[in-house]
């Protein structure tokens, strides 16, 4: 499989009155054609800003992409003129947002919103676009598509709106879809419907998918590869199975120990990560996780760890990664 997307040392900062927020602080990762990559982290870790940066949707001011390269099929998106970038959005890279309630325009019909991209990117006439829209709604499992196209977003439930969003994302047969917390606002049975639909369609159509989520269960069920983010940096990367079996960063280790699991009997105590995530305006030269880390050593105060290989296709940004497993055993 060929590499579809390569993000190299991407840095996005927000310039606020409280100081410069390094929301994304030098992340690098790649996405192969047709694979599903998850970006996991808690609120404020930079996962959404990183995704919006890919499409150059960062509001400027206050934000700006200050460094790095985003190579999509060999072209650096950061050097494209605005006009050409507009053609990439929706046509080559599509996005599904978290809030199906606010990401559709309430005063336009579903049909109008769905055909807009087709007319713009595919130069279809109204009739062709209409026919394609019917096909798309049918594909995402919305019954009676002809009638539904004439309706407005408020006629649709949350799950149905998210299906419309997916239909829109797929409309121009993009190579890559970025889904930012696509199911967080939905009920669990609807979440399962939407995720199965996305998995099924991306597999069938060979579309690569970047899923941004905080839900470790969703990652375990759907992702091929995982990037874990903390305080604007990727701190661990690897195949999903490998990350869960052999977490090699104290933060990943902590996350896995702190989630209650459906298959765990009552009475087992959770091991939370103590403390709070750091203020991104106040980061220093050391590791951002060290105040909450039970493995921290003196070196962590002075130097930010970089991603190092710890196993096959498995990287961790921790000075102490070699000692984690051993220490974890002594602790337990």
């Amino acid at each position: 499989m060929a590499t579809l997307l390569q993000v190299k040392d991407l840095q996005t900062q927000f310039f606020t009155s409280a100081g410069t927020v390094k929301a994304v602080d030098g992340i690098s990762y790649s996405v192969e054609e047709g694979e599903t990559v998850a970006i996991v982290g808690e609120s404020g870790c930079g996962k959404s800003v990183g995704a919006l940066s890919l499409l150059r949707l960062i509001p400027d001011p206050p934000g700006r992409i200050v460094g790095g390269r985003i190579l999509f099929q060999g072209t650096d998106l950061l050097t494209l003129p605005d006009e050409e970038m507009r053609n990439v959005r929706g046509r080559d890279i599509a996005m599904v947002f978290q809030e199906p309630m606010t990401s559709l325009n309430p005063v336009l019909t579903i049909g109008r919103q769905l055909t807009e991209t087709l007319v713009h990117h595919r130069s279809m006439n109204a009739r062709q676009a209409q026919a394609r829209a019917v096909e798309l709604l049918d594909m995402v499992g919305i019954s009676d598509p002809e009638r539904r196209l004439l309706q407005y977003p408020h006629h649709f439930s949350g799950g149905m709106r998210q299906r419309v969003m997916i239909a829109m994302a797929l409309s121009c047969e993009p190579k890559l879809i970025i889904a930012d917390e696509p199911t967080t606002a939905l009920d669990v049975t609807i979440q399962a419907q939407i995720l199965e639909l996305m998995k099924d369609l991306t597999k069938r159509l060979g579309v690569a998918l970047i899923v941004i989520t905080h839900n470790l269960g969703v990652v375990a069920r759907y992702a091929d590869r995982v990037n874990v983010m903390y305080a604007g940096k990727i701190i661990e990367r690897g195949l999903a199975a490998e990350i869960y079996r052999n977490p090699s960063h104290p933060y990943t280790l902590g996350l896995l120990a702190s989630v209650p699991r459906l298959d765990q009997r009552r009475g087992e105590r959770l091991v939370p990560i103590e403390g709070q995530p750091p203020d991104l305006t106040l980061l220093d030269d050391g590791c951002a996780f060290r105040p909450r880390c039970r493995f921290a050593v003196d070196r962590c105060n002075h130097a930010t760890p970089v991603l190092e290989t710890v196993g096959e296709a498995h990287l961790s940004a921790c000075w102490e990664h070699a000692n984690l497993q051993r220490s974890a055993e002594t602790v337990s």
């Binding site: 808690e42 609120s43 669990v188 049975t189 969703v218 990652v219 069920r221 765990q264 990560i273």
Partner: protein, 335 residues
């Protein structure tokens, strides 16, 4: 009460008894001359008990009536039908004075730590307010001392008493909400999605805090939540609601290891487990359709349009809760 009501066999009297609870909200149309065109049957005939010291989980998807059930117990809603007894006393028989007195014993922790704290009050005032209202600790100095005590019980720095809510993170605010609920030494707390707005690493801190407090103060919880993994971790017994009705209730491990109602099964199958090895071997069957409108619920068993095992009689007969094992009740004729 029918013999199939989930009344415990224990000779001890339950702390909370809910009997045939119904709460229907009228739907009005017309701006000038308003008339009622229908009812949303938010809660439609729900019965359960909560024993002293027990944590009952009430789960279901949005719109199933779990929050409304909690609000009815908190005396925030007028019941349409049914009875709620607290410590043997029917809440409907209480006069104004009796109700106010009882509110000391029944407290609440809300979901959203942002909107449930008054942004113009300091944390100390927020925690002290229930004591002031109920005339407990009338002496301001002793009240302040109690605030400090509550803050430290909930794992917060006593200095936070002088801060405003906006100076705190979500997890810290939720701890304030818990401290406020504890300020009156209640017996019973309704927790309405108390951790769903929090990040995972913070969520675990708050869950552990709630467990510790439950043990320390011998508290009884009604834990309303949609996150089944959290419910499994915290609750002694679990009740599953769908469209205003109780469909299954059982001991926690029994419900999760041996679910019987088709809706419970579908709900559990939909929750992903954070372990790719396990996920690979799980069946990912997806429940079709969406929750019907509670204004016009399906006839017969409300779940039958989405049910994989429905037979013809399901669309006419209303299934009663019946006991299929010790303390395990299911409202399904096909089990």
């Amino acid at each position: 009460m029918s013999s199939a009501s989930p009344v415990s066999k224990n000779s001890e009297q339950p702390l909370v008894q809910v009997r045939g609870l119904k709460k229907h909200f009228p739907v009005n149309e017309g701006a000038v001359i308003s008339r009622t065109v229908g009812h949303v049957k938010a809660v439609d005939g729900v019965s359960f008990d909560i024993m002293k010291g027990e944590t009952l989980g009430l789960v279901g998807e949005s719109g199933c009536g779990k929050t409304t059930t909690g609000r009815c117990i908190l005396m925030l809603e007028q019941l349409t039908e049914g009875q709620i007894l607290f410590d043997g006393v029917d809440l409907a028989t209480l006069d104004q004075k009796g109700r106010i007195a009882l509110r000391r014993d029944i407290q609440v922790i809300f979901q959203d730590p942002y909107s449930s704290l008054n942004p113009r009050m300091k944390i100390g005032q927020i925690i002290a307010e229930p004591m002031r209202v109920h005339g407990i600790e009338p002496d301001p100095n002793r009240r302040a001392a109690r605030v400090v005590e509550l803050l430290s019980v909930c794992g917060l720095n006593p200095k936070f008493a002088d801060r405003y809510p906006h100076e705190m993170s979500g997890g810290q605010r939720q701890r304030v909400g818990i401290a406020r609920a504890l300020s009156l030494n209640p017996q019973f707390i309704v927790c309405d999605e108390p951790v769903s707005a929090l990040d995972v690493s913070i969520q675990a801190q708050v869950i552990n805090l709630m467990e510790d407090l439950r043990n320390e103060f011998d508290l009884t919880f009604l834990f309303v939540a949609h996150d089944l993994s959290v419910v499994r971790h915290l609750c002694h017994r679990v009740a599953v609601m769908y469209l205003g009705k109780l469909v299954e209730i059982a001991e926690c491990d029994e419900l999760f290891d041996n679910p019987q109602h088709p809706y419970t099964k579908a709900l559990l199958a939909a929750v992903p487990i954070p372990d790719p090895e396990i996920e690979k071997n799980r069946e990912h069957s997806v429940m079709k359709g969406e929750i019907p409108s509670p204004m016009n619920p399906p006839s017969g068993c409300v779940f039958h349009p989405r049910c994989p095992v429905a037979v013809e009689s399901c669309s006419t007969g209303l299934p009663e809760l019946r006991e299929i094992g010790p303390g395990h009740l299911v409202a399904c004729t096909e089990v």
